[in-house]
């Protein structure tokens, strides 16, 4: 589904974070991207989302080169990016509102999707319910807990019916029960194999429990994609098994003291 070919990416006056970097992602897979801060995890998400463009090479999603944000790619950033002046409902609806603003032009919105207002409202309603934030619909983000903000941002993205969901540090700064709740929720989303999920994290346990494959990034430039197979992930009981701890230990050794 995603094909990254020999990309190079560097911030101005800095050594490249990615150089001749290639990476392939199959449809419906669950990936975790792990590495110390500053290794380029978030930049990689921005590149995949079409917010940054590589200086060399190409990123293709569904065989089309990514040159701008793609309507079917969903991105949830670490600080959630909610509009502070808009309610939970308005925030969750923002993506569909933007689509309505442009119409289905194939560039800002999928060409094959014509949503009426009530349909859009209904869809937002559905996701608010599914994410159990229905009762907060008229609250403003500043009145929400971190977990509730995270859910609002996820609802906003899912209302767009993405085929690719990218999450940047989705579980950081959440308390343990909220975190497990949200992990389970994301696992369920990917369960039917239609949604490709990429989770960026600096937390080894998150990576091992959420990523069927794990991409480990390094500080100081990434040339080769270092991939760890982790087929048992995405099952709730995995966390309590021996293999889980072994896998975590293994990641600790290869990532070194940086994490």
């Amino acid at each position: 589904m995603i094909d990254i070919q020999d990309i190079r990416f560097a911030y101005a006056n800095e050594p490249p974070i990615f150089d001749e970097f290639s990476w392939q992602i199959a449809r419906g897979d669950a990936w975790a991207v792990i590495g110390p801060s500053g290794c380029g995890k978030t930049s990689l998400l921005y590149l995949l989302a079409g917010l940054y463009l590589p200086q060399k090479g190409q990123i293709r999603i569904e065989n089309k080169p990514v040159t701008a944000p793609r309507p079917r790619s969903g991105l949830v950033l670490q600080d959630h990016g909610l509009l502070p002046w808009a309610s939970v409902y308005q925030n969750a609806r923002l993506g569909l509102t933007v689509r309505g603003f442009y119409g289905s032009d194939g560039r800002h919105a999928p060409i094959d999707e014509e949503l009426t207002m009530p349909e859009a409202d209904q869809r937002v309603q559905y996701w608010l319910q599914k994410l159990s934030i229905q009762h907060l619909r008229s609250q403003y983000p500043s009145h929400l807990s971190r977990g509730q903000r995270q859910r609002t941002a996820i609802a906003r993205t899912l209302a767009m019916q993405p085929d690719l969901l990218m999450l940047d540090e989705p579980f950081s700064a959440l308390d343990a029960p909220t975190r497990q709740d949200l992990q389970q929720l994301i696992l369920n989303l990917g369960a039917d194999g239609k949604l490709t999920i990429i989770i960026v994290t600096h937390d080894i346990e998150v990576a091992v429990s959420m990523g069927r494959r794990i991409l480990a990034l390094n500080l100081g430039g990434n040339r080769h994609a270092r991939i760890i197979e982790n087929d048992d992930a995405c099952q709730p009981e995995y966390r309590y098994q021996r293999q889980f701890r072994d896998q975590c230990d293994y990641l600790h050794t290869i990532l070194g003291d940086l994490i």
Partner: protein, 249 residues
């Protein structure tokens, strides 16, 4: 911190003000300070005649100036806020023109634009323009880059960002700037209306009443001008608290 104003405090304030005025008038006991019991009836008599016309003329000038200033300053502020390079080029110019007391430009404006309502409105618009320009620019520039990226990832291009992010983000600041500058605007209006016109509260207060020693009517004019300031402040304040609902704890 701004003075909290609602209907109750406004009424209470008016009553207190009137009482103090009445007491002062009793102490002074001269025609130069007529009591409210004299001025207020005159005010109500003349507000439906000549004073009303002057009131409307002044109101129209201020409102027109506010509209022109907002419509001019908001887009320019948004553009400068979104384009740091252009902003860096323009910043020195704005920095030195912003603090100039715009009233000194009055003769220049008269020379270039002629002696008309347009030049008076232009002068007032100029004052408000800079206040709004600066806050909108700063507001747009200070938006979290992550917020912009995340809305862009939802498919928003420049137009949608403008509509759904930059505009709503800067509106509360626009209204706050308006509230802060409307007092100065009315003060300048008062001066600009003292000459080269035959309508407006400034003209009424200075030319039609003060210069012919009609003190009671002069005070009625001052009352009207105060009311204009109060009403504008009240309107802007209520728009402001409506827009800033999300900031309340």
């Amino acid at each position: 911190m701004r003075p909290q104003i609602n209907l109750r405090t406004a009424l209470l304030g008016i009553i207190m003000f009137t009482v103090i005025w009445q007491v002062l008038a009793w102490i002074v006991r001269q025609p130069i300070l007529p009591a409210p019991s004299v001025v207020i009836p005159i005010f109500f008599q003349s507000i439906f005649r000549d004073l009303g016309m002057h009131f409307l003329a002044s109101t129209a000038r201020v409102v027109a100036a506010i509209l022109i200033a907002v419509l001019g300053a908001v887009p320019i502020g948004l553009i400068l806020g979104q384009m740091p390079k252009l902003d860096r080029v323009m910043a020195p110019l704005i920095a030195i023109t912003y603090p100039i007391p715009k009233i000194v430009l009055l003769p220049v404006i008269y020379i270039f634009m002629g002696i008309s309502d347009i030049s008076k409105i232009f002068l007032i618009a100029l004052i408000i323009f800079f206040q709004i320009l600066v806050v909108v620019r700063d507001e747009a520039a200070n938006l979290h880059p992550e917020l912009i990226l995340s809305v862009r990832s939802l498919g928003a291009g420049r137009r949608a960002l403008f509509r759904y992010v930059y505009l709503p983000a800067s509106l509360p600041a626009v209204v706050t700037a308006l509230r802060l500058s409307v007092g100065t605007a009315i003060a300048v209006l008062f001066i600009a209306e003292q000459s080269l016109t035959s309508y407006g509260l400034g003209y009424y207060i200075v030319v039609e009443t003060y210069q012919v020693l009609q003190y009671s009517h002069m005070y009625a004019g001052i009352l009207a001008m105060s009311l204009l300031g109060l009403l504008l402040y009240f309107c802007i304040s209520s728009i402001e608290s409506h827009l800033c609902k999300y900031q309340k704890g």
